[in-house]
């Protein structure tokens, strides 16, 4: 584990150093105007923003769900050897983790359903489409990251629930309440993402 840390730190520091060098070069040679965030945001097409949002929504949600499932699953299998009665009840923890991936796919389908082509190039159409692109990217980020951490949380708690249930059957229901709260935070991400995309409209204005 320590050599992985060393490699990551080295790569990260080299990357930051190169960025600083480039930045200093631009500043000192009077070409600071070239570092143009506005140009960057406008030069990328709204289709790219929208589809990246869809990709992030589903992939980060799945990462969170997968992380949670393996964390809980390994503990259920281990604890189930000496206490076989816990095997079926603890699948509820796995279901909570899976729900996180389902939120991700729902949002991905909702967002990708809003993507439409536009051909008019007047400023109002373009502005509206850019707004739509940004909001879909934001929604994808929102739901992706909140589901990632939700899945992690439910996974770690589910692992503890399995081990505690194996020792004392009355503990399972109490720890399930903790899992329910953890699961709620994924739902918050979905709600906010729906709000973000509620007024997004791509395509030619009528």
């Amino acid at each position: 584990m320590r050599s992985v840390k060393a490699v990551i730190y080295t790569l990260l520091s080299i990357f930051i150093f190169i960025l600083v060098l480039i930045g200093l070069y631009y500043i000192l040679s009077g070409e600071g105007y070239r570092f143009d965030i506005g140009w960057f945001l406008l030069a990328i097409s709204p289709y790219m923003w929208a589809n990246t949002g869809v990709g992030l929504a589903i992939s980060l949600s799945v990462v969170g769900a997968a992380w949670g499932i393996f964390a809980t699953g390994a503990s259920i299998i281990g604890a189930g050897v000496k206490a076989p009665r816990i095997r079926t009840k603890n699948l509820i923890s796995i279901i909570f983790c899976e729900a996180v991936a389902i939120y991700g796919i729902i949002m991905a389908i909702v967002i990708s359903g809003m993507i439409e082509e536009f051909t008019d190039m007047d400023s109002k159409t373009v502005a509206k489409n850019y707004y739509a692109g940004y909001s879909m990217f934001g929604a994808g980020l929102t739901v992706g990251f909140s589901n990632l951490f939700c899945g992690l949380c439910v996974g770690v708690v589910g692992s503890g629930a399995a081990l505690a249930d194996a020792q004392n059957a009355s503990l399972f229901v109490k720890i399930l309440i903790v899992e329910i709260f953890g699961s709620a935070i994924g739902l918050f991400g979905v709600i906010v993402a729906i709000l973000q995309t509620s007024r997004a409209q791509m395509g030619n204005l009528k």
């Binding site: 503990s75 281990g78 050897v81 020792q167």
Partner: protein
Amino acid sequence: MSISELYYNVDNGYLEGLVRGFKGGILRQTDYLNLIQCETLEDLKLHLQSTDYGTFLANEPSPLTVSVIDDKLKEKLVVEFQHVRNHAYEPLSTFLDFITYSYMIDNIILLITGTLHQRAISELIPKCHPLGSFEQMEAVNIAATPAELYNAILVDTPLAPFFQDCISEQDLDEMNIEIIRNTLYKAYLEGFYKFCQEMGGATADVMCPILAFEADRRAIIITINSFGTELTKDDRAKLYPRCGKLFPDGLAALARADDYDQVRAVSDYYAEYRLLFEGAGNNPGDKTLEDRFFEHEVELNVYAFMQQFHFGIFYAWVKLKEQECRNIVWIAECIAQGQRGKIDSYIQILE
């Protein structure tokens, strides 16, 4: 990184669940109450059948003896430990290997002592602890000095780095063997402590106090046992492991101690050790100091199970099962000899 909750279960999740299951099978107060009411060893065997041990004595011919029970109890723990060790990845596998090194040290010393007393090697090998077996065990009797022992045999075993301080050209005789045992154990304990510290996180949190207590306990026991022997104070000071709370001031004071009361005075500076000495004594009805140390060790090991996602539970499980074996053997001895007076001075492990 100390956020081990995120990736611990990848390699170690199954084994943690399994070992916690084993720990759940440790005998409780009610089991011990049943056992101390047994009249014969056959009764004991019957009562043990309803616990996690099951029918482990089923194939033994009657009459049962205490040594057979002891061997079978140990065998069950060894089989379970080997299963866990076979399924372990790094760094858990190194951690589990560290646990076995203490048994290896005991085996080497047993073989050398046996050879000194002219016993055949084939008699001694079955008495070795199975967890501590290594490949060249049978060849230990060819060595006459520690240097030979190291060069011929130990250099290929995992114990080689612990042997640095022991190599000398003096012959292996009674006194030196004890010094070798304690020096080896000191190097092993310090190596294990350093390994746990480097692991960091919850493993260091749980293991470092346990190993520190082990170091201090050995220092105190060595001091008390050395009164009235030929061991000089300087030699004694070289045997103290330095990874405990007593290092450096307590160890320096212990090195100068001349009797039990001075040792007790040194421990008074450390809160937990003062409590241990207070409960101990040689009067009938008191617990011995060793018993108090065992109780404290059991307490620390039970705490290991309060945290998740660390390796301390594996060490704690081995030590608690060992203590349970000692308890059952104590009860069995009391029953076999008919001396039921001290039958309930076993060490309580779990409620």
